[in-house]
């Protein structure tokens, strides 16, 4: 860590500033550095890791890294099975998590996750000024001025990768301990615990307290969703379903669909009054502990006063498809805060931008976007022969990790360039492709509808108009067979040059 601890980036003006040192910031600075873009990275933390230096509270991740897949761990295809490692070009920085995990679980422990991020930063020689706290923000001409504990930093471009980890409570719960203030689990032994909130954080606490608490009540207004039912990250993940099973099989845990009327301190604990939306009935609970698992907000400090629009209880900044503030050009976001760029959200299914496996790709796309739009670079693109188009699109739908982890959000785009023929434009936000003018082209994404197996979705732009073409799913999730080839040829035949869809010799 000697290199990482060395003070870097003194106060001053930089072409670009990144704030943060969690996985989103690490991935972004890695990708910017490889593109040769000069930038400073500032973090108030003493070391890499962001929220994973503390959380999850029960010290095990929700996202997996599958060690044995039959694939080379350094291959791009392996990323589909490794939700936790950041992305690197060099072997030393690839699939780091598979190396640091001890093999007892395919969910890394929190310390393993933290260690993996530190190893990535070290293997990639990332340069970060630690212990530098961003305190406030202002404008001076075209520059943003970040006032920090180490002086003023100026830049026309700032990327905030500051996470969504500020405890949030609705009005009326101000005095109630939050998820992040959980005491050591053993102190809940033989106690009655009321958890407000039925998302993953609430169920994580309930799962951890199952062997300890005398009674657990989980309550929030709407019914619990389970990820295995929604076919997405929406809902409680399988690892935390045990309290739900206890509720339906044995009644040892109460899972209630009620609003919280009042939480009142009593001499020995709390009194919680709930009200049912169904029949307006009131229940009163005398409990020893109440925990607000009510979510988290973005720590944006004074950015809203600067004009950054936010929405939702997490106060997520509203973002363009390339993660720029929708209201303040020049301010960008990376990491889990990318949830504010909702994309097409087809069938109501959000992107995975809230999780490492999703936002690591956003950061790489953002770096390339900044390079071209803000630094005047033109990154190389590969030209394709017409006969390569169909196999390329179907292979991406079958194996492309960006498409698998960011469904209906990131797409592989091929453009028809009048001068250069068919060009692989790379991975692009799907909403940008379908909603912006541009040359004729095709985008392939993987799509889920919340009910069936995923299927390839193809978007064809011709003459400025975009049409949608959905292909069938496949029980083996292999879209490279003859049926899919024919379906894609048919879609492209009607809308693009016939030469593109000629079968392979």
């Amino acid at each position: 860590m000697a290199q990482l601890a060395k003070p870097l980036f003194p106060a001053g003006r930089y072409p670009l500033i990144v704030v943060g040192s969690g996985p989103g910031a690490l991935q972004l600075t890695y990708s910017l550095t490889r593109l040769g873009i000069e930038h400073a990275v500032l973090s108030e933390d003493p070391a890499p890791g962001g929220m994973f230096r503390r959380w999850p509270v029960f010290q095990r991740m929700l996202s997996w890294t599958k060690p044995f897949t039959g694939l080379d761990r350094e291959s791009r295809a392996y990323e589909r099975y490794d939700w936790n490692s950041l992305l690197a070009d060099e072997a030393a920085g690839r699939a780091v998590m598979a190396r640091v995990m001890d093999g007892t679980s395919y969910f890394p422990s929190r310390p393993e996750m933290e260690r993996g991020l530190v190893e990535f930063a070290e293997a990639s020689s990332l340069r970060i000024r630690f212990g530098c706290r961003w305190e406030s923000t202002s404008r001076e001409g075209e520059d943003f001025v970040l006032r920090t504990s180490d002086g003023d930093y100026r830049s026309p471009l700032v990327v905030f990768a500051v996470g969504v980890a500020e405890p949030w409570r609705p009005a009326g719960l101000e005095g109630v301990p939050h998820y992040g203030e959980l005491r050591p689990a053993a102190t809940y032994a033989d106690r009655r615990v009321f958890i407000i909130g039925k998302q993953n954080s609430g169920f994580e606490i309930a799962t951890g307290l199952l062997p300890l608490a005398r009674q657990i009540v989980l309550a929030s207004p709407s019914a619990t969703k389970l990820s295995v039912n929604t076919h997405s990250l929406v809902g409680v993940r399988a690892r935390y379903v045990q309290p739900y099973e206890d509720s339906v099989l044995a009644g040892g845990v109460l899972v209630l669909d009620t609003s919280i009327d009042e939480v009142k301190r009593t001499q020995n604990g709390y009194q919680v009054r709930t009200r049912s939306a169904k029949d307006d009935s009131v229940l009163t609970f005398e409990v020893d502990d109440v925990i607000a698992a009510t979510g988290f907000a973005s720590p944006l400090r004074d950015l809203p006063q600067l004009g950054v629009a936010t929405f939702g209880q997490s106060r997520l900044p509203a973002q363009t498809p390339f993660w720029e503030s929708a209201t303040v050009p020049g301010i960008y976001f990376a990491g889990t805060i990318n949830q504010g760029a909702q994309g097409m959200k087809k069938h109501g299914i959000p992107s995975n931008s809230g999780a490492v496996q999703g936002y690591r790709y956003n950061a790489r796309v953002l770096a390339a976007h900044l390079a071209e739009r803000r630094f005047g670079m033109r990154l190389p693109r590969r030209q394709l022969d017409a006969k390569e188009v169909i196999p390329r699109l179907l292979a991406e739908a079958s194996h492309g990790p960006e498409l698998w982890h960011q469904r209906s959000y990131l797409a592989r785009v091929l453009l028809v360039d009048p001068d250069h023929g068919i060009v692989d434009e790379g991975i692009v936000p799907l909403a940008h492709f379908v909603d912006s003018a541009g040359p004729d082209g095709v985008a392939v994404a993987l799509e889920s509808n919340g009910r069936d197996d995923p299927y390839p979705a193809v978007y064809i732009r011709r003459g400025g108009s975009v049409t949608e073409h959905l292909l069938e799913s496949s029980p083996l999730l292999d879209f490279e067979g003859e049926d899919h080839r024919k379906a894609l040829v048919s879609a492209l035949d009607r809308l693009m040059s016939p030469s593109i869809s000629q079968p392979q010799p």
């Binding site: 207004p221 709407s222 009042e262 939306a277 629009a309 939702g312 069938h347 799509e447 919340g450 949608e468």
Partner: protein, 140 residues
Amino acid sequence: MAVQDDIADRIAGFALFADLSGPEREQVVHIFEEAWFSEGERILRQGFTGSGLYIILDGTAAIRIDGVDRSLLKAGDYFGEISCLLGEPPVADIVAVQPLHCLVLPSSEVESFLKAHPLVMFRLLQGEARKVRTTTKWLS
């Protein structure tokens, strides 16, 4: 010290939710999700699958068919219901003409939501009846 939700209070003034109790409105806010769209952004896309039911909290949106704006929607209005009810892609684009703050419910959840909230279903039917009446007058 009642636990409060600003949006639950705001939708109390919308015709669609006018018959709901406080806890019911709070439940609605938990079932729906919030979304924000910048000026010029498309919310529904003509001919694309996977839409939802949107309730406008703030801002203005245009109903755009084949590139031509036909009507404006404002706070308290909703859109996407026809696509959800018929299980078909929208026949119009919906485009934010000002920053737009919405509540949204995926198409797959609309049927169960309306069955569980018949008073909302009745209000929605009234809204659809008004649209049919307007169209009929326009055609006659």
